[in-house]
Symmetry: C2
Subunit: 230 residues, 2 copies
DNA sequence: TACATTTTCGAACGAACGTTCGACTCAGGC
DNA sequence: GCCTGAGTCGAACGTTCGTTCGAAAATGTA
């Protein structure tokens, strides 16, 4: 019984993950509507009808790609935030985590950013829920930053969505041959955002030192290692 | 002789402009690939084959939408910049102009931001050229700002593209029922960017617009004189 | 009126689309 | 040897796609 939700042989899951990687690449190159299942067949080497043994529709394929990518980003972020309370550092971790994943998974990044509106029905609702959780997490961090007295008067929704705009738009221009490293870009964007929302009453480039000794240095957090996909 | 490049009866141009508006709306709702010419036929009330009297291909339709929208944005910007030399004010004008057009033309905004990669061949090259001119203009303003000594060390490409990210990503979240006015959002984003790139050695909060030194005769040839739609 | 030009559209074209179906191969367990 | 289920695929289904074409309608000109 294939195509059910859980409990396949490991070989099944492994091949599905392989297909998802090829599909993400095809979707990122031709767009979800512009890419055909035949394109994915050609790219993955699996026959057209053979693909449907692993997923039941093109929509589900997109759903799975977005689900896995989003889940990875949110899970990693929550892990990295667990030990940090300083809102300034938490913002830096958010930006770093986001761009770290994006720039090391360019195909998934583009599918997440560019094909966010293609899902329908249940698939759409589930992805929207994860996305909202992610946004709320970021908004909470920003509100903490504001509570600490370091942010000037501004609409928090506009501020946080501006930050996401900076980070997500990168799929349209990032070129590893020309642009700085993911870490450097993350530092630049986090700097623009943090200084950009600051009220100038206290320095924001340094942790404001609450009951929190983690990551007292603003510059080099321990390197965020990226594991292989899946 | 229809469908040639120039010199039609005014009625032809008027109806083409009408079709372009309906097409922009359809493209913004279903995406370029996801929308069919039959959808545009239904939305505009013109028969399927009747549409092809006004444009020769679906690609050309997208090209015309992007060309007119981009030309308008760049032309308006150059007009508004002509009398201003202060780099800080010039940045504010850039942001205001961009968001002003975007938020008052939501369909065209989404087509510009989301369907930038769908054109091919000559169409693609021509739009890319306008876009590059727009980006270079923004980069020039940023370099002026930097020359004035107000910007801290950072990669100018990353900075300017971060600003465009803030502005362009808005098509994914802007809701006129919930969000502030276009002008307020523009001020917030310009503020985040200007404070965000500042080095803190001098105040960047400058009175808006007027009472500015004029000069700097950057003459503008009206090569992109496109009629204002809407 | 009669003619020429501009504008419209129904019908159809071939191509490509997502998906299905039944037959096939190939293991591993009896 | 035979059975079962997982995995694979060629062929085809019905639908929709962008585009074309010739003829009809509408409009302008004398």
């Amino acid at each position: 019984m294939p195509k059910t939700e859980h409990s396949h042989h490991p070989a099944f899951d492994r091949k599905l993950a392989l297909i998802l990687r090829y599909a993400a690449r095809v979707f990122s190159e031709k767009g979800f509507e512009g890419a055909s299942v035949r394109d994915i067949s050609r790219a993955s080497g699996v026959s057209l009808s053979g693909l449907y043994y692993y997923f039941e529709s093109k929509q589900k394929l997109l759903y799975l790609i977005q689900l896995y990518a989003f889940s990875n980003i949110v899970r990693r972020l929550e892990e990295r935030l667990a030990a940090v309370t300083d809102p300034v550092v938490r913002v830096r971790i958010l930006v770093r985590n986001h761009l770290d994943y994006f720039l090391h998974h360019p195909a998934e990044m583009k599918v997440l950013s560019h094909e966010a509106d293609e899902l329908e029905g249940r698939f759409r609702r589930e992805i929207a829920e994860i996305k909202k959780r992610y946004y709320s997490l970021a908004l909470g961090i920003f509100e903490d930053l504001r509570s600490s007295g370091a942010v000037r008067r501004m609409n928090p929704r506009v501020a946080v969505l501006s930050l996401f705009g900076m980070m997500n738009w990168i799929y349209t221009w990032y070129n590893p041959k020309v642009d700085p490293s993911p870490e450097a870009i993350a530092d630049t964007m986090a700097g623009i955002f943090l200084e950009g929302v600051a009220n100038g009453h206290r320095p924001l480039r340094v942790s404001n030192g609450r009951a929190n000794r983690v990551a007292h240095s603003t510059r080099r957090e321990p390197e965020f290692a990226v594991r292989a996909a899946s």
